[in-house]
Amino acid sequence: MEQFEHFESYLSGKLSDADQKTFEKKLAEDIDFNSDFEMHQKMQGAMDILVEEDAKKFISSLDKAQVSSETKTTKKSQWPIYIAVLLLLLVGLFLFLNPFSAKEEDYMKAYLPPLAEATRSTDNTSSESTYYLKTEEAHKLIAHKKYEKAAGILEGLLPEFIGKEKQEIEWYLALIYSTYDLERSRLLLYNISTDQGHPYARKAKGLLD
């Protein structure tokens, strides 16, 4: 076995117990062998540093490319964020002015965000109506601090929806979880923050930071 291979076998723990003991004995007794081994380790360390620096440069170029694509995505998708913020403000204002004393039917009418009204279905059995009914129920529970029940409703809705609705549910769930299960909330916020197309990605990132 060549010395290089011998050193590497020892370093990677591939020598038998007996060979390992012999190696270590030689290391302790033979000065030349010891200094060759030291030099081998240093040279390998130096090679590791060179490879690492080179690979790091490539990784940072990947990061830069990702940041620039994120910036482009953010610029393109800013309008849904504005709509979402407006929607949240309207819901907040409604909850503030009408603390659930109105009849359910009246409440549903008032709950419709003006921007989405033209496209909403009047059929109460449609999935869109289900979404608004259920989220409204969840918001009521949130207002009464019944967070776990609200989470249960939203968790039930999650598999039924995709796209914007699903992303909204995820965001609300992350906020609700923070009241009783911080770890779960952080995990969900992390997933939201790493999803480039998620309208709440920046908010989630902000909360985590």
């Binding site: 360390g45 540093i49 490879v51 080179d54 690979a55 790091k56 990784i59 992390y190």
Partner: protein
């Protein structure tokens, strides 16, 4: 298509382009990153630490690929995850060590702390010594460390022949040996 786990070590060793392709595949693997992120968050880490540990694990795997006796005996994601896990426990242990030393200096495990400091210092000294290498030598040695053939090194460095590249490499190895001898 992602590189097959069976071939990944050889693909890394093949050349810089194929190595970078593997790094990109691993770095953009959402499942891999998510599993490491979940582990770190569950074990008391924060978001900023996830990326550091994730990058460290990938770089360690890449460096391992250049070890002549290295072979992958499990799934690459599982291997990188285990590096990340081990590294995270090491970070936590170091932090605890520092805290315990601050609180109870007379009871601290001095040997462990000393070993850690010595290892870090040695690595730092190695890096400092290597800064004294001229850029051409760094480039040649980086290519050599990345397993590039002499012919490719000659091409990249615009040397007249493979022999010239070999000669330059010998000179640079000699310089490096001199620089790191006293560390």
């Amino acid at each position: 298509m992602r590189t097959d786990d069976k071939d990944i070590v050889n693909v890394v060793r093949k050349n810089v382009e194929s190595r970078n392709k593997v790094i990109e595949e691993l770095y953009t693997d959402k499942d891999l990153k998510s599993s490491i992120a979940t582990f770190i968050i569950k074990n008391g880490g924060n978001r900023n630490q996830i990326n550091d540990v994730f990058t460290y694990a990938i770089l360690t795997f890449i460096k391992q690929c250049y070890r002549p006796l290295f072979s992958l005996d499990k799934n690459v994601n599982a291997y990188i995850f285990s590096i990340a896990k081990y590294h995270w426990f090491k970070i936590v242990k170091e932090q605890k060590l520092i805290v315990s030393e601050e609180k109870r200096p007379e009871l601290s495990d001095g040997m462990n702390a000393e070993k850690l400091i010595l290892k870090k210092e040695k690595n730092l000294l190695l890096k400092m010594a290597m800064k004294k290498l001229d850029q051409k030598c760094r480039d040649v040695l980086t290519m050599w460390a990345n397993n590039l053939k002499m012919r490719e090194i000659a091409l990249q460095m615009s040397y007249k022949s493979e022999g010239m590249a070999r000669k330059k490499k010998h000179e640079c190895v000699k310089k490096l040996r001199t620089l790191i001898t006293d560390i």
